[in-house]
Amino acid sequence: MSNSDLTRILIAAALLICPFLGPTMTYGQQATEQFIPIGYSPGVSNKYSYIGSIVAVDREAHTIVVQSNRGMRTIRVTPRTRIWLDRSKIKQTNLVGSYSDCEEGRKVEIMHDPDDENVADWIKIESN
């Protein structure tokens, strides 16, 4: 087998695996994101995320409505959405939260899923 034949085969193989190498994943490492206070996520806060208050929660639809500086927005919370309780203002460690922590009136920062702007990738909820 010549190198050019092999190259063609490898290109075909690469095209097969390309969907798995595609932009379906985010590279932001979410472990340490937990400890970054609302508004301080590097390259994300005030650029891609929106910060505001929860004005409505629909438990059946698993959505929340947020009023932010970028307007009103409804966003879906899925089992993949990471939720953290930001307690840095009260000098406590930040915790992993859950959908039940999404309550009206609470300040939040929401980063949407890179593949679906209507789905929350992560939510930080200010905790007092």
Partner: protein, 475 residues
Amino acid sequence: MIRAVNESRISRFYVAVAIIFGTSTLIISACQTTPPADPPTLIERGEQIFLNETFAGNGRTCGSCHRPTDNFGLTAAFVATLPEDDPLFVAETNPDLATNFENPILMRELALILENQDGFGDLENNFNMRGIPHTLALNTSIDSRDGARTGWSGDGAPGDGSLRSFATGAVIQHFTKSTKRIAGVDFRLPTDDELDALEAFQLSLGRQEDLELPLPLQGIVAARGQEIFMDNTLGKCNVCHFNAGANGNPAILGPNAGNLNFDTGVENLPDQPADLTGELVPPDDGFGSPGNGEFNTPPLVEAADTGPFFHNNSVETIEGSVAFYNGDTFTNSPAGQLLINATGSAINLDATQVVAVAAFLRVINALENIRSNIDLLDRAMRAMDTSNGPTDSLFDRALHDTDDASQVLTGGGLHPEAAARLEAAANFIRQAKSTTDLELRARYVSDAISEQRAARNNLSSPKPVEGVHVGDTDE
């Protein structure tokens, strides 16, 4: 009497004049302004932050793990030279970090660092032990179709996942005063300006462009190793490590393939040193959370002097790391199977071929060290000319890299003449560093550069072949 009075008056006159003159001189001196030093560049500010800024944490800096005189990485041999109060060992000196922050045994024996890639919910059981990758040639090695790939699994940074954001995650993971990790209490987060400067500094380190293989190598074994490396039916190395870098071959993996992640099965290697210690080493699932088993492709030019190899420091030698791709572990891995499906066979090199590929990697590493040394020594010369900044750190790095280049060659039984030239260069650098005579120092530096160039010419043809790039030109 009159004469005495007159003498007294005259004396007072002279004293007054002297006082006025002296005071005026002092005032004038005080008012004279020396020309202000040039403000530090973004890269220089980044270097200061990288090496000195603790971010109000446990005392560590970025340089605690990414040591300038250990190729901006960290080896167990280097760890063994550190004093007991070095901030690297905070887990042994700070009671708040005594548990679930580091494993001192694995840190001291294998230079492994604890990472909580999959979250901080179960600190006792859910962690990874990873080596410390060098931060050289990042400008050539982290871009992919889907954004930056940082750290061993390509997902090392929080926020937008960029190299700029990496420092924020590192501070939270490694700089904290306690495992509570409260921003503003256990550390402070880097500011935007600091992140900009850190990114600029890191991108400035090492190679700024990839090689263009093949190189006109002088040594027959390394030259054969280069052929095997580039042969897509034999070594197949150039598919994923195009031009011995960290990017996929665009002719095979598509234009702008960039840096790719693969599951090569390293986690499944038997008899890994960390496992042999008996310490708890949970499996590392690589990219994502939960992970998909994939890890990032590192550049190979910098490999030979930055072992141990792979994300878990599981293989000590460059020959062993080449041989890994012959073994069942790689062959049975997803990446190995992909290669077999595409090419019809596994990688199957004999011992002489393994050593030849390793020899090639050793020689290109030595060439890169020489390129870097000449650059460092040039910078030291310029710093001397302008009295602009300390030169000791430049000499230290040049000395370390020169020793590295020499050891990389002698460790493979390669190019004894080049190794001797490099040892001569190292002696000149030591003399340059120790003398206070600037003229003499300049001469030593010049001699060191000449020896480096002679060594380079022994490794690779001094006359560049068209289209072949072997580093800097002589002038």
